[in-house]
């Protein structure tokens, strides 16, 4: 019966951590594609299995490296509490199993993690790592999603306009902005925007977390570099596609210019953007570390940075494992999405 309870605990944990939700969305999209006959799960089963194996292997490696690095630090995690009674300290260490041999500790810790128990935070022993993550992740996720939507809409529009008006002043202006967007770190953009839009002209609320209005500025700062990349990729992608023979065919058919762009060129022109989505999602997760700090959003990024500064190893390991899982799943989704968009590509 033990395995039922532990699997249930694992399910609850993944739900609370917000891992299960993206998987749910993923499965729903796949089911929809299957129902519409555009994708078959049997053909890509081997692919999915292999990717999940790689993911498990990567997570194991990340976990092991983190674990041994953590344990290699001289002294136990509770040494920094200076005036602690040695007897109490011994009891605490016994409670966390720190008095056992390192191999046993590793296996126990691995088993705990697999069950979804990341243990208590080293810094705030009253809180479980899982609870802290479950509390912070939804905020980071909504920030990230808004930033991504913003990056895609702005970037694709700018890229298309630039491609259509290639060589013109609008193209030049947009591409100069794109280069600036790529070059400037988001904290520089953020500080300048805060200076102007919050302090000098108070259009937006100052930092912290609240309703949607609090999301706009951080999401813009987080998404801006990616909007710039997407604009560039869309432009080169569109220009490349517009020289293809099949675009000439579409024009020979008497299709109007706008429809040539949207119905014929767009799909091929956006393929580079789709393959950029994987790195973009990883980058937005990373960027949210800084943006959350600037705008004082109590999300996962803030917790992670705090954990790193405070040397709260259990919490930072939990975050690293979660981020790795997320990036892997998103890349998987992007790869599957690519094959749906380009019928010539098969999953392998």
């Amino acid at each position: 019966m033990g395995w039922i309870t532990s699997s249930w605990a694992f399910l609850v944990w993944t739900w609370e951590m917000g891992i299960l939700q993206p998987i749910g969305v993923f499965l729903a999209i796949m089911a929809g594609l299957w129902a519409s006959g555009r994708w078959s799960p049997w053909g890509s089963m081997r692919f999915l299995c292999r990717r999940l194996e790689w993911m498990a292997l990567t997570l194991l490696i990340v976990f092991s490296i983190s674990f041994f690095l953590m344990r290699s630090i001289p002294g136990g995690p509770f040494d920094r509490d200076k005036n602690i009674d040695p007897a109490i300290k011994a009891r605490i260490e016994a409670k966390y199993g720190l008095d056992r041999p390192i191999g046993e500790q590793y296996l126990r810790s691995l088993a705990d993690t697999l069950r979804g128990d990341l243990g208590p935070s080293y810094k705030n022993r009253d809180y479980d790592v899982v609870d802290i993550i479950a509390e912070g992740f939804p905020k980071s996720a909504s920030l990230g999603v808004v930033a991504l939507i913003f990056a895609l809409t702005l970037g694709i529009t700018a890229g298309m306009v630039s491609a259509v008006r290639r060589g013109g002043w609008l193209d030049t202006t947009l591409m100069v902005f794109a280069t600036i967007g790529i070059a400037l770190p988001n904290f520089v953009i953020a500080s300048i925007l805060i200076l102007f839009l919050v302090i000098l002209v108070p259009m937006f609320p100052a930092a912290t977390w609240g309703d949607f209005r609090h999301l706009i500025l951080p999401a813009f700062c987080l998404g801006a570099p990616f909007a710039a990349y997407v604009a560039r990729l869309t432009r080169t992608g569109m220009l490349d596609v517009l020289t293809q023979d099949y675009i000439r065919t579409a024009r020979a058919k008497g299709v109007g210019e706008l429809r040539v762009l949207t119905a014929h060129a767009l799909k091929g022109g956006l393929l580079p953007v789709v393959s950029f989505l994987g790195p973009a999602i990883a980058g937005i997760l990373t960027g949210s570390l800084v943006v959350e700090k600037i705008f004082q959003i109590p999300g996962l990024g803030t917790h992670f940075v705090q954990a790193a500064i405070n040397r709260d190893y259990t919490l930072s390991m939990g975050c690293v494992l979660l981020y790795t899982t997320l990036v892997y799943l998103m890349n998987l989704l992007v790869d599957v999405g690519y094959t749906v968009l380009d019928p010539r590509v098969e999953l392998d």
């Binding site: 293809q244 023979d245 099949y246 000439r248 065919t249 579409a250 024009r251 020979a252 058919k253 008497g254 299709v255 109007g256 119905a263 014929h264 799909k267 091929g268 968009l341 380009d342 019928p343 010539r344």
Partner: protein, 336 residues
Amino acid sequence: MSELHEHALEVDGLKVRFHTDDGVVEAVRGVSYTLARGETLAVVGESGSGKSVLHMAMMDLLPPSAEVRARGLRIAGRNVLGMSGEDRRRLRGKEIAMIFQDPMTSLNPFTTLGTQIAEMLRLHRGLRGRRLREAVVGALDEVQIPNAAYRVEQYPHEFSGGMRQRAMIAMMLAGQPEVLVADEPTTALDVTVQAWIMELLASLQQQRGMSIVLITHDLGLVAGSAHRVAVMYAGRIVEEATTDALFADPRHPYTRGLLASVPRLDHDGGELYQIPGRPPDLGNLDRGCPFRPRCPYAVDRCAAEDPDLTERAAGHRAACWVELEPWKPTAAGAAR
């Protein structure tokens, strides 16, 4: 369709120049011809002779760097000169359609063939819903693609080369155009498939009474399928005649060279003739006949003036200063 016009296509003095970084390239240097309704005209020439550019210019498919000039251009009886870009777009697919050399790259790889054909039917025949779907399947049936109802759901990469070109033909004919420009329609295909495609085009022409411009460099293809032939060299037509007349008695040295370089079953032995030299650089042509450096018959006048087309026999025109002796079609005879 009104029956007022007798010509499907009339071109008069069409010129195309490209403005490039390396200067002006004159790709087409004044071409005039007429195409009767139901007729097939073959336009023959080496690559770079301007035969594709000429027809793309007629259809307004060239990039903005191209400058197109003409004294006159009528497509299906309608005067194209002075038409807006939007009006010319409406002609494309409806009155004049074009099929391209490589059906692999010329079909949109991201959408099903059905969708691509349906676009044409919606655009030019206003079909919607169930009738549209039936018409799409009907169009594939017409070009003898087996299992059409199933294949409309497939993507171009799931078709073989010959099938793709058939689908391309089905798509381009879906708007029931008066003129079909076939730009090297069989070059990218196997020899056996080539004959098949040409047969299909011929039978569709008979059914519909449309006119065809067959752009090719393959004289073998011309002999079997065209009524008339126009030979292009360096952006101009150098000889124009009915197919029989051209093959029996070519009047231009370039045409003779082309014919001599075709392998023939009835003349074995001897080496195949090859026209010496290279096609001229269209970026800087001098005053004389552009074929002069490669021509075994060249005289002094050829260096001074570029000859115009002149009537040599009824319906047989050639642009050459030299009146050639009657043609003896042997490999050796071509050289002299």
